[in-house]
């Protein structure tokens, strides 16, 4: 591939992967089963233009060699009008999103447009993937035991158009073993933990670890589901570890000993109720009681969450002056529609859209308040 017989784009991609492998001391290349690409939220600004052009140039008209999913667009263009977004926000933005959609189509990427991992692949323990987007990578590594480093956009695309990745990092068994033991303290009732609590636990864990060591959790509830695992990605806000284990729940942690690879943990700590509350205080930056917008679905909501939300909203109304925004993938939205889960959300005055929830919320706030 390096010598150009498969084309210039493949050669350049392999050159990048070779340099990547050298930087990490990889001994050889692996064949990958799939990839996830295009994490950058391409907007109509200078960085958006630069990144988009870089990705178009890298792809070079090649088609991906393995099944490949895509991250959400900044905005689902079909929703711009309904969201009431101003023209100046969407003019160049529209053009760039349209170019990215063309790139997705022409390169043979599956237009899943989701930051949550759904359906296109058959998850299998130990298979090799090249996934960008931190929460996709952590979820897939941890929940399914599929192997991927937390790729950048460029390395993931390079792997997608070559079908290769250098063997290093989380492709090596020894790097997947847990090194830090995390327990819940006695004042945390595991059975009553909410999805948000799991996010707070993960965030606090990342703060304490502060490097690339893999945490192992013990004492989690028996009904630790995929949705809860999805909330366990904030550890990367303060660490560079794209993997966690939950003893008794995730596939590489049937026992504590297995999760730790037979070694003793380098560090152990407990998460208390105060730790969880401290994380909430970090993010609650106002005492204002009036709520402008409630955004749910970052990462995208699962079917389980939409079912829960539908139940909570059945027969109720979203308050006047408050906007409820729920983001999910088109695939999950379609299933939720068929199951009658979207109807009670919309009848309550909520919005459930297949787009990036964070971008949509931010755009909506920007369009109304300019800040």
């Amino acid at each position: 591939m390096l010598d150009g017989q498969y084309g210039a784009a493949v050669s350049q991609a392999m050159q990048m992967l070779t340099e990547l492998g050298e930087a990490y001391g990889a001994e050889n290349m692996l064949d990958i089963k799939g990839a996830h690409v295009f994490a950058w939220k391409v907007a109509g600004d200078l960085p958006g233009n630069v990144v988009l052009q870089k990705l178009v140039d890298m792809a070079g008209g090649e088609r991906v060699k393995v099944p490949c999913t895509s991250n959400p667009l900044t905005l689902n263009l079909d929703l711009a009008e309904r969201l009431g977004l101003p023209d100046d926000l969407t003019a160049t933005h529209r053009e760039n999103i349209s170019r990215l959609q063309t790139l997705v189509r022409d390169s043979g990427v599956i237009p899943t447009y989701s930051c949550n991992y759904h359906y296109p692949f058959e998850p299998k323990l130990g298979d090799h993937y090249a996934l960008t987007e931190s929460n996709v990578c952590i979820f897939v590594n941890s929940w399914y035991g599929m192997m991927s480093n937390m790729e950048g956009d460029m390395t993931a695309l390079a792997s997608a158009i070559t079908g290769k990745t250098p063997r290093y990092g989380l492709y090596l068994d020894e790097n997947r073993h847990g090194r830090v033991l995390v327990r819940l303290s006695d004042d945390v009732d595991a059975a009553k933990l909410t999805n948000a609590d799991f996010g707070a636990i993960s965030y606090r864990t990342g703060e304490i670890i502060g490097d690339d060591r893999v945490p192992v959790y013990v004492g989690f509830p028996e009904d630790f589901t995929a949705t809860r695992a999805k909330y366990m990605q904030p550890q990367v806000a303060h660490s560079s570890s794209a993997l966690f284990h939950v003893v008794g729940a995730t596939p590489e942690a049937p026992t504590l000993e297995a999760a730790l690879g037979g070694r003793k943990p380098e560090e152990a700590f407990t998460i208390s109720r105060t730790d969880i509350e401290d994380v909430y205080r970090t993010f609650n930056t106002t005492d204002k009681r009036e709520i402008d917008i409630v955004g749910i679905g970052c990462p995208h909501c699962t079917l389980e969450e939409l079912g829960e939300l539908a139940g909570l909203l059945q027969g109720k109304r979203v308050s006047d002056g408050t906007r409820l925004f729920i983001g999910t993938s088109a695939a999950v939205k379609s299933l939720a529609d068929r199951m009658g889960l979207v109807k009670p959300i919309e009848e309550a005055g909520g919005w459930c859209f297949p787009t990036c929830a964070r971008w949509a919320c931010c755009s909506w706030v920007l369009s109304r308040y300019g800040t």
């Binding site: 994490a39 990144v51 790729e151 990092g169 490097d211 690339d212 560079s240």
Partner: protein
């Protein structure tokens, strides 16, 4: 001269040196304003330029889209001389960005060595030996 072995990506220059900027906690490259090349939300370095500095941090973290910060810094000639971390495997998105931007990214810096480095110290990088030294 104290020194530490490192691994990672280094450009072709065998020897280089520069002024250290030390951050004592995991660092998200999105804390750098890419066009002006200055630190944001890093209170001890707020508003200071990263150009030609050697950034030292325990690890790199945060959103994968920080991958493109090195590329933007390179575009507007605000490149740091190097980024060095103590983690055992450097954060891949930033390695990806540094490869594309030609910015050295080294990892595995000895923690004890790193704890003896202060902002303003001069660090020397020997790419051939895979070594970082405090001058």
């Amino acid at each position: 001269m104290k020194s530490s072995k490192v691994q990672g990506y280094c450009t072709s220059t065998p020897l280089s040196e520069g002024e250290a900027v030390v951050i004592f906690r995991p660092f998200d490259l999105l804390s750098i304003e890419p066009i002006s090349g200055t630190f944001e939300a890093v209170h001890e370095h707020e508003g200071k330029p990263i150009k030609d500095k050697i950034l030292v941090a325990p690890c790199l973290c945060g959103a994968t889209i920080a991958e493109f910060i090195p590329l933007f810094l390179s575009m507007v000639d605000n490149r740091p001389k190097a980024i060095i971390t103590t983690e055992s495997i450097a954060y891949v998105p930033i390695m990806s960005g540094c490869l594309a931007a030609g910015i050295p990214l080294l990892y595995g810096l000895d923690r004890e060595f790193a704890s003896g480095v202060s902002t303003g110290d001069t660090l020397g990088i020997d790419a051939e030996k895979g070594e970082v030294g405090l001058k």
